[in-house]
């Protein structure tokens, strides 16, 4: 794994590998977050910190509450209790679009490309502070034309980097599933986020594109951005993450480096069940 002097994975050596451990320079801190649906407690996180400039994976079996937790952190759902902050700013009750403006931008498990907009339009939409997006100034093209040109140039340079430039005038609906994932990530970058939250970036992506997505995620870290992602693909988790957080039944059950977490008894138990190595027919043998 690559090591970086600034931020990156240096924090690993000074952080204890226990659930809810403190990090030297956390960008995101969450405390006592609970979310219940009727009688079911979907999320019950006592304490969580995410190190600035790291790639942190959030894993766990199906139904562990990962996506719900993501929705809570990004303002798409409200918790029953708890506090959380981003860059020292409390995010309780902050609307999702304001969370994005603060620099925490997410993608979705089911890709949300804007289908009947072209790829370039999808990208341009992400840019911040657009004068032409105000209802009054939209009437005066000379006010926003220059800014729009800059936005288009920026979009084109990101699209080139993501190898989607040939598709720029196609409708987003004409892209393949993997290309839509790429577009969604590229679009998130147009917002110039400090932290990128990726909800299953690899789901349904073919191996060739997967490699390119991995490179892009690493590139984000090189640029000093923080990445938190939910993923089921263990190879990917192993390959790129500095730190892994494991959720099961709404709680964080383990934290640590990819290698140590995957050897953790509790993690194996959560994924495979407590008695996975037990031969049930031979009662009491073990």
């Amino acid at each position: 794994m690559q090591k970086h002097s600034s931020g990156g994975s240096d924090f690993v050596s000074v952080t204890t590998q226990t659930p809810g451990s403190t990090k030297p320079d956390p960008i995101l801190i969450a405390d006592h977050i609970t979310r219940t649906f009727g009688g079911l407690t979907a999320v019950n996180v006592a304490h969580l910190e995410v190190q600035r400039g790291s790639i942190t994976a959030l894993i766990g079996p199906n139904g562990a509450g990962k996506t719900t937790f993501f929705n809570l952190l990004t303002g798409y759902d409200s918790p029953n209790s708890g506090t959380w902050s981003f860059n020292g700013k409390a995010l309780n009750g902050i609307a999702s679009h304001k969370v994005a403006r603060l620099g925490m931008v997410r993608t979705f498990q089911l890709t949300k490309a804007l289908y009947r907009l072209t790829v370039l339009e999808n990208m341009a939409l992400g840019a911040r502070g657009q004068k032409g997006e105000s209802v009054l100034t939209s009437l005066f093209p000379w006010v926003w034309k220059a800014q729009e040109r800059e936005i288009q140039q920026k979009a084109i340079s990101i699209l080139t980097n993501f190898k989607l430039i040939d598709k720029k005038d196609d409708f987003a609906a004409a892209l393949s599933g993997g290309q839509r994932k790429l577009l969604e990530m590229a679009r998130a970058l147009m917002v110039e986020p400090e932290m990128v939250m990726l909800d299953e970036p690899m789901a349904g992506v073919n191996p060739a594109l997967k490699q390119s997505l991995l490179e892009h995620i690493k590139e984000l870290r090189n640029q000093g951005k923080t990445v938190l992602f939910v993923e089921h693909d263990m190879d990917m988790v192993h390959e790129i993450s500095d730190w892994v957080i494991v959720m099961s039944q709404g709680e964080i059950i383990a934290e640590g480096t990819p290698t140590s977490v995957m050897k953790n008894e509790q993690v194996i138990e959560a994924y495979l069940g407590a008695h996975h190595d037990l031969d049930l027919s031979a009662e009491g043998d073990k």
Partner: protein
């Protein structure tokens, strides 16, 4: 059969007052539904508010007409806010339910006996509330040519009405081709994605509802002025659905499509009616098949049949892009 008369009636209707009213109603809906994806089933309510706002201040309170226009715009903004505040944060279907109910509430209030003295009850309001407008009419006589025929007043309404339509279409064209318009179309595609990019979706949906509503109210101005009367039952749900028909006929999310859609709609209605009427009076259509009193019902049946055929063979409307529509099905 008097084909010249049929041509004259049909062409006059194609560019006539009703076409202007329906074009304005549908342009407003195009803003809501075509560009922002808001299912507004209460466009008739906005037209009713426009129409009553022109008539009531002048007749019942003696205010000048230009003040009445301002009141109409103000009222339609308030109506949009009333509809939008509780529903725009919810899923799209809630707006549909609330708007269809709200438009009916407007109509029922207008025709209620309680407000008989100001709103005129079920008879509506008839009177010379448009006098200020027609005083500006430069035409002393109407237009009477073999292919077009308008009275002096209608000619004035048609000319000012089309100027209004042209102005609104021009503004719409600038707006939908701006980053603002891009944002609106993005909201139509997926609100959550737009939120994730830091945009205040609620605010933009409210803007769309207000703008489309005000354009609808302008349709109400034309409706009231052209007839010099306001009848509450003209503003029922049928008006909303005709406006949707006009929009879909032209193809949603194209700036010109509501205008062309309205022209085709009225062309067909009047053409079919005239053909049937002439056929019946000249005994070309036997009495046992269609009677003289049934013509105005039959024209809607044939119109409906035509629309069904259009939806089967050209589902994207006249101007719509088939490729774009196919993408929607895929998404």
């Amino acid at each position: 059969m008097d084909f010249l008369f049929i041509t004259q009636q049909t062409l006059s209707a194609t560019i006539g007052v009703n076409t202007i009213i329906f074009a304005l109603a549908a342009i407003g809906l195009n803003m809501h539904f075509g560009y922002t994806g808001l299912l507004n089933f209460g466009q008739a309510g906005f037209l009713a508010i426009g129409a009553y706002s022109v008539a009531v201040p002048v007749i019942s309170f003696g205010l000048p007409l230009w003040v009445a226009f301002l009141i109409g715009i103000f009222n339609s903004v308030i109506f949009a806010l009333l509809l939008g505040v509780p529903t725009l944060r919810l899923r799209a279907d809630y707006l549909a339910i609330v708007t269809i109910a709200a438009a009916e509430i407007v109509r029922q209030i207008a025709r209620s006996a309680t407000f008989n003295s100001t709103l005129g009850g079920s008879d509506g309001i008839t009177g010379k509330f448009g006098a200020d407008f027609f005083a500006l009419n430069p035409f002393k006589s109407g237009l009477d040519t073999p292919i077009l025929r308008f009275s002096a007043n209608d000619l004035w309404v048609v000319i000012t009405g089309w100027s209004l339509v042209a102005f609104i279409v021009f503004i719409m064209w600038i707006m939908v081709n701006s980053p603002w318009g891009r944002l609106m179309r993005a909201i139509r595609e997926d609100e959550d994605a737009v939120r994730s990019l830091g945009k205040n979706v609620y605010l933009y949906k409210m803007q769309s509802l207000i703008i489309g509503g005000v354009i609808g109210a302008c349709g109400g101005f034309v409706y009231a002025l052209s007839r010099q009367s306001v009848q509450p039952d003209n503003y029922g749900t049928a008006l909303t659905f005709f406006a949707y028909t006009v929009l879909i006929l032209g193809g949603a999310a194209r700036v010109f499509s509501p205008v062309i859609g309205a022209m085709i709609f009225w062309f067909l209605i009047v053409f079919i009616e005239q053909i049937l009427r002439q056929g019946v009076t000249n005994n070309l259509i036997p009495d046992w098949l269609i009677g003289a009193n049934q013509v105005s019902q039959i024209r809607f049946m044939l119109m409906g049949l035509g629309l069904m055929l259009l939806m089967i063979y050209r589902p994207q409307g006249i101007f719509g892009d088939k490729k774009e529509l196919a993408l929607d099905a895929k998404a």
